[in-house]
Every structure is written in structure tokens, then in C-alpha cells.
Symmetry: C2
Subunit: 345 residues, 2 copies
């Protein structure tokens, strides 16, 4: 591989000036710069990243650390994120490092190692939880990072997130407008940032409508079809008043809800309205539902570019205020929501 020294010699210049020319410093003769660049190109010269990193402190490499699980290859967020982020960073001439961490040691130790060897410029964090220890660790050590999501209550970090609280508020607003009073909510795992935010939106909407929450029709847990089915069965058990609408934090949950309602002989939306949030992952399209599923939609795929922008902006020292981005979502009303059945109460 050609080195800076080689280029300098070929160009008949000092190493320093060659470096400056290549890096577009201002104090270089325009002609010289052009000539040096031509020589460098003809020699296929590329700066050695390790050497540059040693002196500038920047390597152009960022990492995503995810815990190893058997289901990792089925995890839509992981799959889309890895492909999307890698493409984005690659397109910016940076390198994306994926680190699947074993479960034999705490995750912060992995970060410790990864930043300790001084090779990475920053990190992307997935699936933030409340009081996220990873974020705390990185903040305490002054390591740049961007979060896919947000860590409440005071998000003093770069992030790209969607308005999860608003998403649920808006969903509730639609259902309440249709006359629903008893609205169930099947949410994700408690402690996860997005789930907490949606719960806030749910409760706020209830409060604003003068309704009070009923723990019997609020459920938190993994977002699988099976849980959607079982939870729905449980909520529609005899004796208790049945919800007239069900909100799901994920389309997989909604799939289970559909199956449960069908098994129970309840019609959608005649007996029960159903809504869900749709990340627009290819695995389970909202279009696969009959009747067509009303959703709030925020394609996960749209998040990689702004997320990448956030991290590069952070590395470039841009102010935090510009690095806290909330993406858009849409409310799409299809055929799974309708007026609340009469005489519910």
C-alpha cells in the first residue's frame, strides 16, 4: 500500500504539505493541491486509519452492541437496523462494527473493552430501557452515543425517536371519538422506553376523557402473536365487562387478537375494534389482516438515516439540540375500527 511518504516523494513535496493538500487545508497552493491529489489517486493512496486515529482520535468506526440471543436472527429491529445502519455509515465512508455480546459478562464490561482499546468513535444504542445502564456508562465515560428511542425522563442525549406517547394518545383519541369507553391496551415489556411512553399516552388520554384505567384490561409483556391471543381470551372472559376496543403495541399482537376474537365469535369491528402500531416490518404486513387493520404507522426503515445523521453530528460536535430528532408517524384508519357497540355499560 502506498503511504503518505511515497506520495510526498512522487509529488516532490514534504510529507506535511502533502498531508495538508490531501486534507484540504486552506494554506496550500491550489495548483499544488490538485497535483498532489492527482498523484495520490494515481498511486491508489489511502490514509492509514490506524495512524490517523492515533493522532486525531477519530477512526470513523462506530459500533452497535447487542446481546446474544437465540432469536436474534428473527428480531426485526436487529435485522433491519444492522442492514440499514451499515448501509448508512458505509455510504458516509465510515465503518459499522457489529458486536454480538455473549451473556457471560455484563454489557457495560463489553462497552468498557470496546472503548478501552480506543478504536471506536461512538455507539448506537438499541432498545433503551428506563434508567438505561449502558447510556449511563457511556455518558459517564464521555463516549459519544446515539439512542434509537429515548431515555426518559430527561433525555440529555442524542436520539432518534418517534412520538410514542403521542401515538398512543392519538389512537385513544380516535377510539374515544368513536364512543369507546372501555379500551384495552396490550403493550410491550414494561421498562422499555417505547412501552413506557405509550403507557403515558394511554393514561393521559384516559384522564383527559374523564375515564379511569382498569388494570384488568391493561397488559404488558412480549409482543408475540401468542400473547396477543392469550391476553385477549383473558380479557374477554365471562363475568368481567368486555372491552369494546383493543390497542396493540405491535402488529404481531394484533394478529393474536384477531385470532382470539375469531375463536370467541366476536366480530371486528362490530363487537370489538382493534388498532395497532405498525413498524412496517416485512415479516407481518398490516395488509395481511382481514378486516384491514387500522394502525399508527412509523416505518422502522425510515429511522436509520436520521439516526446516522445524529451520531455523525454528535461526532462533529454539533449542539445536542440539533441531535434530538422525533420522526413522523401516520394515523391510518382502515376497517378494524368502528363505533362502540350500543349499551356496553
Amino acid at each position: 500500500m502506498a503511504t503518505l511518504k511515497d506520495v510526498a516523494r512522487a509529488a516532490g513535496l514534504s510529507i506535511t504539505q502533502t498531508s495538508r493538500a490531501l486534507n484540504d487545508h486552506s494554506d496550500v497552493n491550489e495548483m499544488t493541491r490538485k497535483r498532489v491529489k492527482a498523484v495520490a489517486r494515481s498511486m491508489n493512496y489511502q490514509a492509514n486509519i490506524s495512524a490517523r486515529k492515533l493522532v486525531t482520535g477519530r477512526s470513523g468506526m462506530v459500533a452497535l452492541v447487542v446481546p446474544q440471543t437465540p432469536e436474534l436472527p428473527q428480531n426485526g429491529l436487529f435485522i433491519e437496523g444492522v442492514a440499514g445502519l451499515s448501509a448508512q455509515f458505509s455510504g458516509r465512508g465510515m465503518q459499522f462494527v457489529l458486536h454480538v455480546a455473549g451473556n457471560d459478562r455484563p454489557i457495560t464490561e463489553v462497552y468498557q473493552r470496546l472503548i478501552g482499546n480506543g478504536m471506536l468513535d461512538g455507539f448506537v444504542l438499541f432498545s433503551p430501557c428506563d434508567d438505561d445502564p449502558r447510556a449511563a456508562f457511556l455518558r459517564d465515560h464521555g463516549i459519544p452515543f446515539v439512542v434509537h428511542g429515548r431515555i426518559w425522563p430527561d433525555a440529555d442525549h442524542a436520539f432518534f425517536d418517534i412520538d410514542n406517547e403521542g401515538i398512543l394518545y392519538q389512537t385513544m383519541d380516535h377510539l374515544i371519538g368513536l364512543g369507546h369507553r372501555r379500551i384495552a391496551f396490550i403493550n410491550g415489556q414494561p421498562g422499555h422506553g417505547f412501552a413506557s411512553a405509550r403507557m403515558r399516552g394511554y393514561l393521559r388520554a384516559l384522564h383527559d376523557a374523564g375515564l379511569s384505567p382498569d388494570p384488568a384490561i391493561v397488559s404488558e409483556g412480549e409482543m408475540t402473536e401468542a400473547r396477543g391471543l392469550l391476553t385477549t381470551i383473558g380479557m374477554c372472559r365471562e363475568g368481567a365487562p368486555r372491552p369494546t376496543a383493543i390497542i396493540c403495541s405491535d402488529v404481531r399482537l394484533a394478529k393474536g387478537v384477531y385470532r382470539a376474537l375469531e375463536a370467541l365469535g366476536l366480530s371486528i369491528p362490530g363487537d370489538v375494534s382493534v388498532m395497532a402500531h405498525d413498524d412496517h416490518l416485512p415479516q407481518l404486513r398490516a395488509s395481511a389482516f382481514f378486516p384491514a387493520l387500522s394502525v399508527t404507522k412509523a416505518p422502522l426503515r425510515d429511522s436509520w438515516k436520521p439516526l446516522t445523521d445524529c451520531l455523525t453530528g454528535l461526532l462533529d460536535g454539533r449542539p445536542l439540540a440539533q441531535l434530538q430528532i422525533v420522526g413522523h408517524h401516520e394515523l391510518i384508519i382502515r376497517n378494524s375500527t368502528g363505533p362502540a357497540p350500543a349499551g356496553g355499560d
Copy 2:
């Protein structure tokens, strides 16, 4: 971050000796070594990879380059491979870099850039094709790489592969033993290493059985359910003699074959036997077939460890002969294969 100098000072030694102690050189007092290591640990010392790379030439980072496609997140090989390889390399204290390359420039140029900046120790190559230009490029430049699969005819490189030729020969052997004479083969894209190897196995088995190939019942192309369906319809068209058995290079193809045969009113295995090769990806389990699908099985998931071993072995300078590994496969006969129907010819 603590540096070698810090450790040396804390240990009351020279930088040189500290380095030697940490790297287990022979000419260090045993006591000294222990003490230095203890100090280093207590200071959370980690060698700076960039600095080390600069002098030793090794960074402990390897990369996988894949072309950007919209379907990338649905590509089972990509998903499993990325998760598996990253976990393997992480477990060995190395870093796995994923590079999703845009399609705006030739892939060798990407390699050029990636190796040119002197940051990577080696590469993993996926989906090799005959006369693979990437392999040629890396070989010509003396860059270590390992191939998932094999580049024929003379695989003068490190690889982990399965015996694709044997897999098809064995499949054919089973079907021929059941009396089948007209055996269709729905293969993957021509030019891909595994597809070529399987085609060789198919043709050799035909030849050994005294049969001659019929282009009408051999098909090459993408391995989707849709193509399995359409190809089967085409092969069972009136006028031409119908195959009594169909071999698929992938279970997705087999899914389409099943649907086509059902639509045509043909029974499995009464009218047509079906076999497939099963990579054991979670997306479409062979267990989802009725009647249960007979397969050759070689779990993709088992390939990441040996593949990683190959590349690290290569980097450690082990002889090539030890770095060409052929994994095992199983022949699993379930209920989709049976005797050829009488009076076919």
C-alpha cells in the same frame, strides 16, 4: 484511558518491559509478569488497537462485505451469518465489521478501499460464484480471506463448505433406488458455487444410473416459493412426460412445488416424490410441510464457528490444508418420497 506508560510507571518498570510482560514474552521474570498484569488489570488497561496495528500489522478486525439490496433484511444467509459471525469473532476478542456496499461502484473497489486504509486483517466472503472476482482481487493483493462455500475448480483458498455435489448425488441415489427415472431438479441461480456443485452431483448421478439429462425438467433461478410453483406447473404441462420426482435446492422452492402439485391434483409421494435441501433456517421449517418433507439437512447455523476458525487460523499462518473444511450433512427421509408410480415411461 490508561496507557502502557501509565502501567509502566505504576509498576516501576520501563515501558518496554511492561509491554513484554503483558504480551507473555519469554524473557520476563515470572514474578514481574504477574505483578505487571495485576497492575494493568487494576488500572483497566487495554492496549490501543490502532497503535498496535501500526506496528504489528494486526488489528483483530475482520469484515464481511455484502451488496445492498432491498431484500437484504429478508435474506436468511445474511441474517444468520451476521449474527453468527459477529458472535464468534466477538467471543475471540476480535471485531466483526459489516459493510453494506452501495451499488454505485464495483465491489472490488470497496475491498480496495477497505484494505487500503489498513484497518482490517481479513475478510469473509459469502455466496461465491464461479471465477469469483472478489476472491481473485483479494488473492492478488495478498489479503487473507475465507469463503463460505467454495470456488471451483481448484479451491486454493480457505473455506468452509458443505459437500453440495455429494448432497445431490445422495438425493438422486435415494430416488433412483426407489425406481425413479425421470427426476426433475429445481436449482439455484446458475453461476453460484453451491448451485454448480449440486448440478454436477445431479448429472453424475444420472450418468452413473445410465440416464441422460432432460433440459425440460432442469431449472435454474431464484429460490422462491413462487418459482417453485411456476416451474412445477411448467414441468407438469400436458404433452410432455411428467417427472416422477422433483428435487429442490431449497425448502422455499419445495413449498411452491407442494402448492403446485396440490393445485394440479397430484399426490405426494403417490404421483410425485419431492425432496429438498434444508439449510434449517427458521423462516420456513421443513416441519411445516404435509406430508413431511424428505431432505438433506445441513444447518447453516453450524457453519459460523468453523468458518471463524478458518479465518483466524489463516491469520495465524496455519497451512491451507487445515483451513479447507467440509461440514457434515444428513439425509433425512420423511414422507414425501416413495416408489416411482408404475408405468411411468
